[in-house]
């Protein structure tokens, strides 16, 4: 069973819909026990960092998520929440990745919305990807760092995906990235 972590606000349903299309059973939950016993965990993301971390702390999940041993996938804001700190609402995050989440500079079109190609793809998430265009929607980014496993170029190069041990995370939305996104989700599910 796959646990999709619920923390208010976001559109958790779209991740579940994508898993349904792949024929995989999932539960949307904020229950620590269910999350800990799940085969895999997805931390989805739509919303703002401050409110999201507030909900995660309220449910005691800030102690649970960083210690999970099964494969975990953070998506978009979910990826940013797995980092140490976000400039969005000046938020202390979960600290799995030793990275700071930064706002795109002024003077450009922000949010970065739309399909952009990912580059320098490494490791397991990106096998068998034909088209490297994936769907992004974000105003904050994770700089390229030692945990980066895919990059993207918008205004500057940034992390399209990061990985550390059992934690995987994508800035783009695989659940909204057409066939490419489906393959990436499949790759995660097969880990």
């Amino acid at each position: 069973m796959i646990a999709i972590i619920q923390y208010g606000g976001g559109n958790t349903g779209s991740v579940q819909n994508a898993l349904n299309r792949l024929g995989v059973h999932s539960i949307i939950t904020s229950d620590a026990g269910i999350i800990q016993s799940a085969e895999k965990v997805i931390l989805p993301g739509v919303g703002a960092a401050g409110a999201a971390m507030q909900a995660i702390r309220r449910d005691g999940l800030d102690k649970i998520i960083p210690n999970l041993k099964q494969p975990v996938l953070g998506i978009c804001l979910g990826m940013q929440l797995l980092c140490k700190y976000s400039e969005e609402n000046n938020t202390t995050c979960l600290g799995v990745f030793d990275a700071r989440v930064i706002k795109f500079p002024e003077g450009y079109i922000v949010p970065h919305i739309g399909w952009n190609n990912i580059e320098n793809t490494k490791r397991i998430l990106f096998s068998e990807i034909a088209d490297k265009n994936t769907y992004f929607v974000h105003s904050y980014y994770v700089p390229v760092c030692t945990d980066t496993v895919a990059t993207c170029q918008y205004i500057l190069p940034f992390s399209a995906a990061i990985q550390k041990n059992n934690f995987y995370a994508t800035q783009f939305h695989p659940e909204k990235s057409g066939d490419t996104g489906e393959q990436i989700l499949k790759n995660f599910l097969e880990i």
Partner: protein, 250 residues
């Protein structure tokens, strides 16, 4: 490189897709789910669904439709029409809409933009502006294109962006359904005034119109309806043409 987006728009009335000319004279254009799936398979970059009746009785039908769309397509989609409160927006977002589009309600109550953005993030708030050229000014029209606010689109677009809009969807009412090309001038006016993406809408009649838009403006996306519904222009052909002409396209 970030790609320019091609966005088919489906106007929804009583659960069916319809298409009119200059906002009136509606014709049936098919089942929205079937069309949505077709467009997604053809390489549409996003979809927009506008509930043009947007009465309270129709809300339930719309929510059910949104759930079905979310279950059956794997690209982002926006839902608009009749969203007046944070609760209206929340219901659609929780039913699976990636973004909501607000028009008259945002103009009449700009705080609504901030409320939705604070709750769900700016990225899911599209502010739709219907524009018509009146006495040397592109004016904002509300109420389904029936009311001239007398306000210039620049002033309103700036305010909407300041309130936390994630994107502007700019429709030229003069061009809508006329198939004579996009109105480039107001698109450029708005692009120059705000630093959020602008989606241009109204007037697409042939593939060259999309090229002219992307070549001559900073529009992030082009939205069209009728031209796709009746298969006059197929999305793969359009995208191939734009790629050949060096427009960044997925």
């Amino acid at each position: 490189m970030l790609k320019k987006r091609i966005i088919p728009c489906l106007d929804i009335k009583d659960g069916r897709t319809v298409k009119g000319t200059q906002f009136v004279d509606l014709k049936d254009a098919g089942d929205p789910i079937a069309l949505a799936q077709k467009y997604a398979a053809q390489g549409a970059d996003e979809l927009v669904f506008l509930d043009i009746t947007a009465t309270i009785e129709n809300r339930k039908t719309l929510v059910e439709l949104v759930k079905k769309i979310a279950a059956s397509i794997n690209i982002p989609f926006t839902v608009g029409g009749g969203i007046r409160t944070l609760e209206d927006a929340a219901l659609l977002i929780r039913s699976g809409a990636d973004k909501i589009s607000i028009n008259s309600a945002a103009y009449n109550n700009p705080e609504l933009i901030k409320e939705i953005a604070n709750h769900f993030g700016s990225q899911c708030v599209v502010v739709a502006i219907d524009a018509k050229y009146i006495d040397n000014s592109w004016n904002v029209f509300t109420n389904g294109g029936r009311t001239d606010t007398g306000c210039n689109i620049i002033a309103w677009a700036k305010k909407a962006a300041d309130q936390g809009a994630g994107e502007i969807l700019l429709t030229s009412m003069d061009n809508d359904g006329a198939r004579s090309g996009f109105a480039i001038e107001p698109v450029n006016e708005v692009c120059n005034a705000v630093s959020i993406p602008v989606i241009a809408s109204g007037g697409a009649g042939c593939k060259e119109d999309f090229y002219a838009l992307f070549q001559n403006s900073n529009a992030s996306a082009a939205l069209a309806a009728g031209i796709f519904h009746y298969d006059q222009l197929q999305i793969p052909r359009l995208k191939e043409y734009l790629k050949t002409n060096q427009i960044p396209i997925r």
